[in-house]
């Protein structure tokens, strides 16, 4: 098992290098570069940049050199100095911009994930056990609506309701008095209060998805001969339910853990813009629009890394859950 984990971790390295290459290639793909989008912005403001000025700016930023050279310089700095480059938009190192948003991004994403599993798994089990009951129809209907509702619409509705009922649309992640305040219990509480709407909005559709997956899995598992065997042994229905079908039904849920984290990251962008959340979605979006290549590249790289790590974690969890996979590891 340990050997397998080490092997998997070592495999991550070439995967990440390959990803970094693709990422850099992709952010170079759109026509133009930061300088051209900057000059377009300037000309919109009434100042026209000359070709000489633009060339000088390109030379300063290292954008005049060939793509592969830019890539190697970027990679060299990352590996040797942990320097992810410079964000042109923010006019500070990428690492500082990332650092500014990463903590809250992770907090929102992880809480959303927990919310999804905590809500979806019990409902999935319930709707399967009570298949075709009124409760099943209610939750199944609700989950279809949840799958079909656009995030931003729900965000606006919840903001409106919150404003109507509590007099506060709960925009952002902090009330204005806490934004720059040092961390305290009151600030944490304020954050939790502000996270209710984002978590529901971001998590809703994948929660609904998970309910459907869990229900389907449970229905499969509930009719397995092993459940009948357990019943014939005299086990109570409750102990059967949790020992056999539920445990087996968790497998596919766990195996999707890897990419669900990064899908929360990307899926949250529009919601974050609507709700004015200080998380990475809008930052990434602006970086792509403004061809802020090092920032965009670093975020992409970071997300790819998260997916790779997430997959690794879900593989390890699967091995822990499923003895068959475990034996395969031992076999290798």
């Amino acid at each position: 098992m340990l050997q397998y984990i080490i092997k998997r971790i070592l495999l991550v390295i070439p995967v990440v290098i390959l990803i970094s290459f693709i990422v850099f290639y992709i952010i170079q793909l759109p026509p133009g570069d930061y300088v051209s989008s900057y000059s377009a912005k300037m000309s919109a403001a009434g100042e026209v940049m000359t070709q000489a000025e633009m060339d000088e700016m390109r030379a300063n930023l290292g954008l005049d050199r060939p793509v592969y050279e830019q890539y190697f310089v970027w990679m060299k700095k990352i590996i040797l100095h942990g320097d992810f480059g410079f964000s042109f938009n923010f006019n500070k190192p990428v690492i500082d911009v990332v650092g500014q948003y990463i903590v809250l991004t992770l907090v929102v994403s992880l809480v959303t994930m927990l919310f999804q599993y905590a809500v979806a798994i019990p409902i999935g089990i319930y709707t399967a056990v009570k298949q075709y009951s009124a409760g099943d129809y209610f939750f199944s209907g609700l989950s279809f609506i949840g799958m079909a509702t656009p995030n931003f619409l729900l965000a606006i509705i919840l903001m409106y309701l919150s404003y109507n009922w509590f007099g506060d649309p709960l925009l952002g992640l902090f009330s204005s008095e806490y934004v720059n305040a040092p961390w305290s219990m009151a600030k944490v509480f304020d954050l939790m209060k502000h996270m209710i709407i984002p978590v529901i909005v971001i998590g809703l559709s994948s929660t609904a998805d998970l309910v459907r997956i869990m229900r389907g899995q449970m229905l499969d598992e509930l009719n397995k001969p092993s459940v009948v065997t357990a019943r014939a042994k005299g086990l109570s229905e409750m102990s059967i339910l949790f020992k056999y079908p539920t445990r087996a039904a968790l497998n596919p849920i766990v195996s999707t853990l890897g990419w669900s984290l990064s899908s929360i990251f990307t899926g949250a962008t529009i919601t974050a813009i609507v709700l004015n959340l200080p998380i990475q979605g809008p930052v990434m979006y602006n970086a792509l629009l403004g061809q802020d290549m090092y920032l965009a590249g670093s975020w992409l790289l970071f997300m790819a890394l998260l997916t790779v790590i997430g997959t690794l974690i879900s593989d390890i969890l699967l091995a822990w859950l499923d003895p068959k996979i475990r034996t395969e590891f031992r076999g290798n």
């Binding site: 001969p225 009948v228 014939a232 229905e237 003895p323």
Partner: protein, 347 residues
């Protein structure tokens, strides 16, 4: 004959007028339609019939483990001499998820299934799953339970039990798994073992071993067996008495020798003819029973075998329900051909 003597004692389990209805989209399916049989201590009753005749549903209804769509009526009176609470208890009257029936399942009446591959959960070790029944019914002490489980594994001929105990079902071969299944079923010394096609999924040599094992353990533990199968060879080898099922009804019931040497019902005769025999005429094709089993939905009161029967009497067999005719004390048949020979009619 031993079965003759058995008649005078009280049966361990007496199933009377068992009916199972299942609501389907196409109407109500009468999957089991008035089945009666007795099982005696230490004896084996074979329930034989082709797929879909209701034999599995019948056997599972005894401990109420059919899906909840199955609406079961009739009675299954259990009579355990060793336990007062279980004197003349109708198992079908107990709530199917309640404590009382659960205390009987696995402890007094145990069951083994056709597919040892899927009957064990792949998620837990064999040991864990064997210990489960022991921990519910015999002891709360995990160490004692493990000891019992290891003894049972040894009893069914699994060597290296300590290692096997911690292995998962997929690390067992098919025959080993069925042995483990038997050890699990017998771990609480049941009085009745229901074996639902226990060897169908196994190859022939393993089949013989497993059947031999079941017979030995039956002798040792003195339990009764209800053996559900479609294989007449297994019936001949294992059973004291046989009930032939067709379309939810028992069409013929007799001691095993009677069934093989003096079959009455055209269906039983057909079954026997379709069985290959050692030393039989090799150039001759095996007989088969023409036609297919009808779906038991909305059938008129008539003989279910009418369409496939060579000896049918038009105007009789297809006009009314077939009563049970007693050919002799122990041999009964549901067929109009023998109505005159009846010693006494029932139903």
């Amino acid at each position: 004959m031993t079965t003759q003597a058995a008649r005078t004692e009280q049966p361990l389990l007496s199933v009377q007028d068992l009916k199972i209805r299942i609501e389907t989209d196409n109407g109500v399916m009468q999957a089991v339609d008035g089945v009666d049989f007795n099982i005696y201590k230490g004896k084996t009753l074979g329930l034989v019939g082709e797929s879909g005749c209701g034999k599995s549903l019948t056997s599972r209804s005894i401990i109420s483990i059919n899906p909840k769509e199955c609406e079961t009526t009739g009675s299954a009176v259990y009579h355990s001499e060793s336990e007062k609470a279980l004197h003349n208890l109708d198992l079908l009257s107990l709530p199917p998820t309640g404590k009382r029936i659960r205390s009987i399942r696995g402890r007094k009446i145990a069951m083994i299934f056709q597919e040892p591959m899927t009957a064990f959960s792949p998620m837990y070790t064999i040991g864990n799953q064997i210990m489960e029944a022991i921990l519910i019914h015999r002891t709360k002490d995990k160490k004692k339970a493990k000891k019992i489980a290891l003894e049972m594994l040894a009893k069914v001929g699994i060597s290296d039990q300590e290692k096997r105990f911690d292995q998962y079902p997929h690390e067992f071969s098919g025959g080993m798994r069925q042995r483990a299944m038997i050890s699990m079923a017998l771990s609480c010394n049941p009085e009745l073992l229901i074996a639902d096609e226990p060897t169908t999924a196994l190859d022939v040599t393993i089949q013989a071993q497993v059947l031999e094992l079941m017979r030995e353990l039956q002798k040792e533990l003195g339990m009764a067996i209800l053996l559900v199968t479609h294989d007449l060879g297994i019936i001949a080898k294992m059973c004291d008495e046989v009930a032939v099922m067709y379309l939810g009804k028992i069409v013929e019931q007799a001691p095993v020798k009677e069934i093989f040497y003096n079959p009455k019902h055209p269906y039983t005769k057909g079954l026997l003819k379709s069985m290959p025999r050692l030393g039989g005429n090799k150039s001759k094709r095996l007989d088969s029973i023409e036609g297919a089993v009808p779906m038991p939905i909305g059938l008129p009161p008539m003989c279910g075998f009418y369409d496939r029967c060579k000896d049918r009497i038009e105007g009789v067999c297809n006009t009314k329900a077939v009563p049970k005719t007693h050919i002799s004390d122990q041999h009964s048949v549901r067929c109009f051909l023998y109505e005159d020979q009846s010693e006494g009619e029932s139903q």
